[in-house]
Symmetry: C2
Subunit: 312 residues, 2 copies
């Protein structure tokens, strides 16, 4: 089996070029100094969305992950962030740091996973870079998307009295979903077109922590109703996991309480398989509390993942 | 001295947020799911330039580099690629992979270097990501720029009979320039506005190899005049180094021969300190030859840097 060192850099780039041709809106793709893409007519009313996200061996995936899954996750993570802004993803740049003794086939299969995720959401891979590493290998995806100014949704827009809703079911993503999840691009775009969505975020750090991000950015508090929180089978019925596990990649958003009934009816028709659940309310203050079935509340600590502190 | 682990991820992000605030064209900067930037009026006539470039410990810098220089280089490398397309750089996303035991001060000084380079060229750092690594640390910069469609310059536009010109002096960059070079943004924009520049590239792989990129993309050959090739002091008078050393980060371009005299006169008035030198001609065929002072020619081998094959 050929290694990357045997294939050589030119051979590897030639392989990538043949897989990601230019054309259409892409004036220059892989093989020039930069990628050059044509902006659409009326681009002046658009907002450009910029995101970069890396997956690192031993941090974001381990030996149980297939190369296809690694590639899928590398592309799907920034896609999920574009979804959180209700955006349409358009172009991606891929940086790969690979070991010279890595099988070329393994690297190819990672790109197949990235390409599959990109194609699913209308994204063109237009460039990037390959560097060598002697350490853990990694892939970094820079993603460029766009959104109409009136559809842009920020974390800072939550208002007191808003209902808090979440898509899907939470917890236990580490048992598999973190490698295979489907970014909620279509769902987010439908939401902003059909309901007065205020703040929105994708769940990557865990419900407690990501709700904390919305509350701090908006200067508000929140009250969660524990019995309503949708738990994924992989959470094994643990409320703690549903609240604190990272990498759910679902949408968490707020909307005026008066709009919830109509929103949920429309949602059920459009996305009959994916749950949409109200799990609490935005309240005055800065604290997040968790209420049990009896209405007793306790403060919710933000647990979740800290990249530096959790280092072994 | 505090390490990143002691500072924690939230502390580190808070530090970054305070240094890179939103405002103006930046609707959402560090701290939301994506950066969101407003496109200018008339954006439909613009081409978006997308580039990503990483610097890896042990590959692109070693212990002799100061953290400021590492940051400067991380930002200046993709800036040089935007220059090669005659673009105006606008926004950057920075991915940092750091070790938990790294001094927070070291990481801060790297960002100071990146910020200095960004500010010099009107770039706003609008987002990014910090991940931990147990291996070599690295910084990846994704850069987004723009250029008027009529000013976009690709590698594939060289024509038979064109003069080949280069800015600055070549060779020996490893002795220091590779950490401190100034991307030729202003020079490239002046060139496309004042002369009928055809193909352009920035010199990162070495003159021989980068000219090879232009020739292959354009389906032409080239003849270089050895005595005219400008050698940097750091090349120690070695033509081999001027031809093959990487990381010069100068501009290499072609222009119709009839335009050279007027171009050089204008250049000397505008950039009196930076040499601009004609070093050869684009010719029929696909080979690059090197002519000595007696007019004897020999084929030029493309040496230069191969990321996979050169691995120790």
């Amino acid at each position: 089996m050929r290694t990357l060192r045997e294939l050589g850099e030119e051979g590897w780039i030639a392989l990538l070029k043949s897989r990601f041709p230019s054309g259409g809106d892409v004036l220059a793709g892989i093989g020039d100094d930069c990628a050059a893409v044509r902006l659409p007519r009326g681009a002046g009313r658009k907002v450009l969305l910029l995101k970069t996200d890396a997956v690192v061996e031993g941090v974001h995936f381990d030996r149980r992950a297939t190369p296809f899954q690694i590639g899928w996750k590398a592309m799907a993570r920034p896609l999920s962030d574009i979804a959180a802004m209700a955006g349409q993803p358009r172009w991606a740049l891929v940086t790969a740091a690979l070991r010279g003794n890595m099988a070329a086939r393994f690297a190819r299969e990672v790109y197949q996973g990235m390409t599959a995720a990109a194609k699913s959401f209308g994204v063109a891979i237009v460039g990037g870079e390959t560097v060598r590493t002697a350490g853990p290998f990694w892939f970094s995806v820079a993603l460029i998307g766009e959104v109409d100014r009136r559809h842009l949704r920020l974390r800072s827009a939550a208002r007191i009295g808003d209902a808090i809703l979440v898509t899907g079911a939470l917890g236990g993503s580490i048992h598999g979903k973190h490698l295979t999840f489907v970014p909620r691009i279509a769902e987010a775009r439908w939401l902003v077109e059909h309901a007065p969505i205020r703040a929105m975020i994708d769940l990557s750090d865990g419900l407690a922590r990501d709700l904390g991000h919305i509350c701090r950015a908006s200067g508000v508090g929140a009250r969660l109703e524990a019995p309503t929180i949708p738990m994924a089978p992989a959470s094994a019925g643990s409320l703690h996991r549903a609240l604190n596990d990272g990498e759910d990649y679902e949408l968490l958003f707020t909307v005026p309480a008066s709009a919830v009934r109509r929103l949920r009816a429309g949602w059920r028709r459009k996305f009959p398989v994916l749950p949409l659940t109200q799990i609490g309310r935005i309240v005055r203050g800065s604290r997040i509390t968790l209420a049990d079935a009896q209405g007793n509340t306790r403060p919710l600590n933000e647990s979740g993942y800290d990249h530096f502190r959790k280092e072994p």
